[in-house]
Symmetry: C2
Subunit: 250 residues, 2 copies
């Protein structure tokens, strides 16, 4: 009974997020349907992270088992064939040992948040970046972000409906840099609470605008109160960009 | 009677190109309507280049005259207000001398062509890049492109319905480089024939794939026959990226 590990890219704009739900068009549903279409097997796929509606993925990872064995390149092509014309694509597929689990074996998850920082309305990047009109000070944002590195209780950045058992998480890295009119925030951790990246970005932006002070970040962390942090940044600026596993699991 | 120079960015996906036509939604039409909406004056705007349906612009330039004088920032904001929710935006507006003409004063025009070069289907870049599955050799493409630099009769790269008086043009520069999975081709000239950039790209790609030899480029130029060059590359990979004028005209 072979297990397959797939890497998935998707445009989150017109889909209702990763997770299968009744009466919705989720990435999980589309892929499970595509697998059934080519293999005649109904499977459940397990993803490394549950992205919300509107959130994009550059390299989401998932696994599933089939009864019959197919070469991985056949699995990849067959799923992609049935995924069209949805903006979801399998970019890689390998057969992997049975102990591998896309969610539980993940060592690090990487997210990227894109901001279009200029006065003029967004055109080409409308569904790809959060448009922030006023100039952001990225040095202040980086200083504030540095307070989030390490082990913390992230209750202030946790969505009300988050199902995690504990609010304790460890952020390894946050980098903030500019590319022409865009500001890119990359963030790396073993795992995240629900809305954690968007709530962090939604707090860094008022700091970049001078509406909150750099020093407020520590106060917000210590408050352990969602109401003290900024609003949730829009979904369409967020990209699930990479998942790291042990080397022997690719 | 003030003259205004505007810089325009647009997503060409759902518009029928730059030029006003009967029963179509062109950039020119949308902007002229927006100007009328705020100023009550019906004007004709003159663009630096006529982009086709599907072609994007990062910095198209146009000019127009108004009878009444408004501060440029008011013109910019007012046009943008009435342009919404179209994916067209004025990114800059200045008042300029009457001798300035967006089309005739242009010294250099820059285009950029984006190719997504990978096996997997396109998702996030579907309307932004030409998807070419087989690996392109950009060194060969650059070698072939170098033959196009300078003064040539570009009949082989000229659309049938091109209205230019002469097929003689001068290309100043073609650069081809890679950014992760994307290949970017930038091209600079005083002016171009209709479809010239897309026909050049449509010839460079078979050279990059090894279907045509680098040496074929000279033969194709000398043939002065549209049928000898490659097919027209898709519109949605093309960006009108910059127009240069004399310094005193911004």
């Amino acid at each position: 009974m072979p297990r397959y590990k797939i890497t998935i890219e998707y445009d989150g704009t017109k889909i209702s997020g990763w997770q299968r739900q009744v009466n919705s068009s989720s990435v999980q549903q589309f892929i499970e349907d595509a697998i059934e279409n080519f293999s005649q097997e109904r499977v459940t796929i397990h993803g490394a992270g549950r992205t919300d509606s509107g959130v994009h993925a550059l390299a989401q990872v998932a696994h599933f088992d089939l009864k019959k064995t197919f070469p991985p390149f056949v699995v990849l092509r067959a799923i992609n064939y049935f995924l069209r014309p949805n903006r979801i694509v399998i970019t890689d597929c390998v057969e992997i040992e049975e102990s591998f689990h896309a969610r539980f074996s993940a060592k690090k998850r990487h997210y990227r948040y894109m901001i279009l920082n200029r006065k003029a309305e967004s055109t080409l990047d409308s569904d790809r970046c959060w448009h922030v009109r006023e100039e952001l000070n990225i040095e202040k944002m980086q200083q504030a972000a540095n307070n989030l590195i390490g082990d913390h209780d992230f209750t202030s950045f946790r969505a009300m409906r988050c199902q995690a058992l504990s609010p304790l998480k460890t952020i390894d890295e946050i980098k903030i840099y500019k590319e022409e009119e865009k500001i890119i925030i990359t963030i790396k951790a073993k795992s995240f609470l629900h809305h954690m990246v968007r709530n962090i970005v939604g707090t860094l932006v008022p700091i970049g605008l001078g509406k909150l002070a750099v020093e407020d970040m520590n106060r917000i962390i210590k408050a352990k109160n969602r109401k003290k942090a900024g609003a949730t940044a829009p979904a369409h600026g967020l990209y699930f960009s990479k998942v790291e596993y042990n080397e022997n699991t690719n």
